[in-house]
Symmetry: C2
Subunit: 193 residues, 2 copies
């Protein structure tokens, strides 16, 4: 039976989840990823460690969900009728996030955790990486005949975009400039200009 | 004064360098990167730790030189007159190396060291990453008018190739299939087919 005092559409457990994610983001903002612990998240979110471990096996999983939430909030999957323009907007929004040092640091932290912990690596790929790929795949697959490059699998075009993104985060730190977003949007769509 | 007993074109120090690189490769092959130490390289190469440290500050630097040497030996920078065919050959050879589990593991180990050690990260970028970029840049810049994609900087096309390579090594493990090499060669050159 539902409690009448509950605000519509929200449950106590949704409130706790949000408090936990917000606390994780705030701890990292103040003291960096290394300072993050389940204990401190519990303390600062006013929840119990048990509650956190019920939903997330490790602190990296908490961060992954917070980042995925941020990406889904701030990176649109537009449908303007032009795949080129949709990709351009998707890339511009992705670049804006990647330019935020805090976001970039967390993406690097997740990649590092995935290198160290093969079990987390599986969750990282199946959740974060696949969700972000799916968003871009939706855009590139929307029209028929496709407005992406003929003769090249959509999955390869998705590799190109996220390949450049992660390469610049992990291997060859370079600005995420808007010219790069334009170039990639032109490269992977035929609706250019 | 040159010693007459020296073989032509070789010096004792070149022999030592090669013995050190070969020992590093053989130790990793037998027991993995984690088992590698300067001490063990010295023992198995018949050189002294001092000698190794004179040339390489860390074990990661030894591995980096061994890998760069391997890449330069096995990945050609062809000049057939067709940028498309040159890129295709460059990619096919790069993929062949990346498919070798030992090579892939070492590339991952270098990337992980670069995340942990910002000073090594600088040497990694300035040496390994820049050398590999320079090889592909040579191919893409050779002809005028360029046979690469108009309106897109060569550096972006280089990002695309190495982006996909590192993405598949570090983030989204997927086969380095020849179809992918073909697709990327088509995507970044206009001399396709």
């Amino acid at each position: 039976m539902e409690k009448p005092s509950m605000p519509r559409g929200r449950t106590r457990s949704e409130d706790s989840r949000e408090a936990i994610l917000a606390a994780a983001v705030s701890i990292i903002g103040a003291d960096g990823y290394a300072a993050l612990s389940i204990e401190r998240i519990a303390r600062e979110s006013g929840t119990g460690k048990q509650t956190i471990y019920r939903w997330w096996p490790t602190k990296a999983d908490v961060v992954m969900e917070a980042l995925l939430h941020k990406a889904e909030m701030h990176i649109p999957v537009p449908d303007t009728g032009s795949v080129h323009d949709d990709v351009r907007e998707f890339l511009a929004a992705s670049w804006r996030l990647a330019r935020m040092p805090q976001v970039a640091d967390l993406l690097r932290a997740l990649a590092a955790e995935a290198q160290l912990d093969p079990v987390f690596a599986g969750r990282f790929r199946d959740t974060f990486i696949e969700h972000r790929r799916a968003a871009l795949t939706t855009i590139l697959s929307r029209h028929s005949p496709p407005q992406s490059v003929p003769g090249i699998r959509v999955s390869t075009l998705v590799d190109v975009v996220f390949g450049v993104l992660w390469y610049r985060l992990l291997i060859m730190p370079t600005d995420f400039d808007d010219a790069l977003a334009d170039e990639l949007a032109n490269l992977i769509t035929t609706g250019a200009n």
